[in-house]
């Protein structure tokens, strides 16, 4: 079904390395926040979400430990990794078919080369709906709405798929984080 189709799309993407543009809007379409940064993901649970503007925020995980670094607030948080804690929408990229099946109702919409999967959480989560957009089998954008009807659009810019990513990308190094 649609879950299997989604898993096929996700699992064909062992790694993703892209810039992102994120826009958060309220229910009447006013832009609440726009941010940019870089995202790297390696299935199943390695992620680096680094927003560079308007504030520097870094979320990194090697699949065991999750680091969250907020430069402006001078906060470093370390905890054991689990997908719920991660609260990073991009974590969905690493999901297994069991996780997808257990946590979401998935619907596929096809439009020529575009595939759009809508995921509705079965269990209350940080978002009430997520959409993953693929063109020719490549993830190009994500969209989420949460219970305040705020919508988050994440567009991937110049995405690279299935490239080899250095392990150091998925570890938090306090010196380099602070010095940037």
């Amino acid at each position: 079904g649609d879950v299997a189709q989604l898993h096929l799309h996700l699992s064909s993407m062992k790694t993703l390395d892209a810039k992102f543009k994120q826009t958060v809007m309220d229910d009447s379409g006013n832009i609440l926040q726009q941010s940019e940064g870089v995202l790297a993901v390696e299935r199943p649970n390695k992620i680096r979400w680094e927003s560079t503007s308007p504030f520097r925020y870094l979320l990194v995980s090697d699949g065991e430990t999750l680091w969250r670094y907020d430069a402006e607030l001078e906060q470093v948080n370390t905890e054991a990794f689990d997908t719920e804690v991660a609260q990073a929408p991009a974590m969905i990229i690493g999901a297994s078919i069991e996780q997808l099946d257990a946590q979401f109702d998935v619907k596929l919409h096809k439009q020529d080369t575009l595939r759009e999967f809508t995921l509705i959480p079965k269990v209350p989560q940080m978002f009430s709906e997520m959409t993953l957009r693929f063109r020719q089998g490549k993830l190009i954008a994500m969209q989420l709405s949460d219970n305040l009807e705020q919508r988050t659009f994440i567009e991937f810019v110049a995405p690279k798929y299935n490239t080899r990513l250095p392990a150091s990308l998925f570890r938090f190094d306090p010196e380099t984080a602070a010095s940037q």
Binding site: Q33, F55, D70, E72, V76, Q87, F127, L144, D146, N147
Partner: protein, 171 residues
């Protein structure tokens, strides 16, 4: 980017900024959007740094409501709801501290700078340090507040102050 505040901020205002909380060994950060309409209406929205995971507390004179992760809860005041979602912050006092003013209840000890701005304040078990936009004249509005209590640390960075007559009239 931080925009300079309006010269005169009335009693219907909106603040946008970032808030960090240190609690035991756990730390949280969030965007904060605080709409205050006079004395009896506060709408506080916390959005995760990833733009996901919104929590909204609406507090009026009589009751407070929390909308978080798809469920709605009510309580007598905003403090109870804020600590429900892991943010045990003194919401009704913070409303005054945000303006660089002490809360109306509870003794205070304060340090005031030569131009009349509160730079340090002890109240309700919190000790707070304020730094202001360098607007020499006009309403002294804090740009950063760093507060500590015996169980938590709170840091607020203000990105934008604005008067909010329309937002307040629409609600």
């Amino acid at each position: 980017c931080t925009t300079l505040p309006p010269a005169q901020l009335g009693e219907s205002w909106q603040l946008k900024g970032r808030i960090g909380l240190w609690l035991d060994n756990q730390q949280e950060s969030s965007q904060v959007d605080w709409l205050q309409c006079g004395d009896n209406y506060s709408r506080i929205r916390l959005t995760g740094p990833m733009g996901v995971g919104g929590a909204e507390i609406i507090a009026t004179a009589k009751t407070a409501t929390l909308n978080y992760k798809g469920d709605i809860r009510h309580a007598a005041n905003a403090e109870a709801l804020a600590s429900d979602i892991g943010w045990p912050i003194p919401v009704s006092a913070l409303r005054h501290w945000l303006r660089g003013r002490p809360a109306p209840n509870g003794e205070i000890a304060a340090r005031i700078s030569p131009n009349g701005q509160i730079t340090e304040l002890q109240q309700l078990g919190w000790s707070l340090q304020f730094s202001y936009h360098n607007a020499a004249d006009g309403d002294p509005l804090p740009q950063k507040i760093d507060g500590r209590s015996d169980f938590a640390r709170l840091k607020l960075i203000v990105k934008q102050w604005q008067n909010a007559p329309q937002e307040c009239s629409q609600r």
